[in-house]
Symmetry: C2
Subunit: 326 residues, 2 copies
């Protein structure tokens, strides 16, 4: 039996949910995985540049993530942060000692003028990450959240205020001028399958898609585009996407996600519990596919990864048949 | 009995030996202590500004020093440095996790444009340091060491190469342009007693004295000037001063130290073992005073501190008498 060729899969991913999906796909032996991560929640802390979503991908795929919390490194210390606290710094952003080593390194390389993409690639390599971790842009894009107290940074909203304030508006500072990386454009152009992780559509996936040229590259790509819903039964597994979407007057369920991705998405994988939403999803020209989408452990991640890639291959065969018929 | 007024003591100090002397003086209740530290072995590591001698003073006087090694903080970790090693950085400079917290803070404040003196003052306060830690200059001065392999930085010579290369020449880059701080000038001008710690005369005390105006301020000060020899029986307790002085053709003993400080020093405290050098020291117009100068523990430091201050008070009384007589 002839072995199927390695499928080129490009994943668009945010933080924790994105990293889980990345792990599920990375567990498959017969694909070449590239991941375009989110840099819009990057921020400076104590003069160091921190890139939480990219680090969560790196730590997860390097097998060094703290599995209990889903972010940060295992076996971490807080000595550096404790010193900063003692020195009077506001240390609500949890940064571990190992973590600080990376932030120091990143900041030093950025100061030298190295491209953030190259830094992320070298860091991933040092952490033993096999898939490619790509940045949508090397430019600075920063999510800002308008609350009743005014505009605040994403980490201020997410970590310091624990997503408590109602979100009135979102904005990605710098996105108009940000140039897409050639690596991200290539990964989208050459993909056999594009996967959208069950990440927050508004603050994880949107800043990737809204980077100049990237939404177009996704839409134009011949590859089937399959997303996994971050919603199960009207709730997200982690993070504020449900409350955020509701607060912004958007439909806060899997059908609301379909609405966000309408126009280019081929298939949305939803949970069995959300089967009733299929018709609403189909109405956006998106095929709804039911499955168990909760990723509790490595086995769940790999199973979902396999299912997505299986679906992708089916889609490709269908396209090929239609192409021949046409 | 009337209590004697708090004596204003200004100490010139380098790293480990300087910090021990500072602790000995700080243990006395009846003096106001200011310490002018050495910044010429400061350097950048991984993009962070490290100030080893000032930190050794701060950690010692804050009671948080690692007493076994005499530098660095107690209960330290190496997670940040291990990450930097994993990322391919050259990590011969031992920097602990708590330590990194301080270097991150210092670098951030410097980037904001804050004066290094103000940063050092705020750090000392946060570490619970009672004496004033002052910098000779807020400008960048860096000791360079010429070896047979060419010019290298002081930390490269001291830490990375463990003082193994022969020293052919010393140079303090930037010292010609460096402006003295007003704090250092004031501490010298207002001192009742100036003490020179048993630090390396060539790389710890010289860069302080050679900062514009500081040698003059010491020389002009009415206060008696008392130094403690870093040599005992022709050897230094710690560091490369003995080999360094010999390699540069200087006399490598307590009398060699007297030669370095001739012209302005009043009294050199030497070890009982070096009593035979008294005549050579006196020949430089410096009074030799014998004592036990090895500081093995806190009691030794305090005893030596008390002895120095006692000597200083005697000197002041003598000056007063001579003044009345004159």
């Amino acid at each position: 039996m002839k072995r199927e060729a390695a499928l080129k899969v490009t994943l668009l991913a945010g933080g924790v949910g994105g990293a889980k999906m990345a792990e599920g796909l990375a567990a498959l032996g017969d694909i070449e995985l590239s991941i375009i991560g989110n840099v819009a929640d990057d921020d400076a802390f104590h003069g160091l540049w921190v890139s939480p979503d990219i680090d969560t991908l790196t730590y997860s795929l390097g097998g060094m993530i703290n599995r209990q919390q889903g972010w940060g490194l295992a076996d971490e210390g807080t000595r550096a942060l404790d010193t900063l606290t003692m020195l009077g710094e506001d240390t609500w952003m949890m940064l571990g000692d190992k973590d600080f080593g990376l932030h120091i390194y990143r900041t030093m390389r950025r100061a030298k003028g190295d491209r953030p993409s190259e830094i992320a690639r070298d860091v991933a390599k040092a952490f033993g990450v096999k898939p490619q971790i790509l940045l949508p842009t090397d430019d600075k894009v920063q999510t800002r959240v308008r609350t009743d107290d005014g505009w605040i940074s994403f980490q201020d909203y997410f970590v310091r205020r624990k997503c408590a304030p109602e979100v009135r508006e979102l904005q990605f500072d710098g996105i108009e001028e940000a140039e897409p990386t050639k690596e991200a454009l290539t990964a989208l152009g050459e993909a056999d399958l594009i996967v959208i992780a069950p990440s927050n559509p508004l603050v994880s996936i949107a800043p990737i898609l809204e980077t100049k040229g990237l939404r177009g590259a996704v839409a134009r790509a011949k590859a089937p585009k399959i997303a996994v819903s971050p919603f199960i039964a009207g709730k997200v597994v982690k993070g504020p996407a449900d409350r955020m979407m509701a607060a912004l007057g958007l439909r806060a369920d899997a059908a609301g996600v379909a609405e966000r991705y309408a126009g280019w998405l081929d298939c949305l994988i939803i949970d069995h519990q959300d089967e009733a939403l299929s018709a609403d999803i189909n109405a956006h020209g998106i095929s709804a596919h039911c499955s168990d989408i909760l990723m509790k452990d490595q086995a769940d991640k790999a199973r979902l990864g396999r299912e997505i890639v299986g679906l992708g291959r089916q889609w490709l065969k269908k396209q090929l048949k239609e192409g021949r018929a046409g």
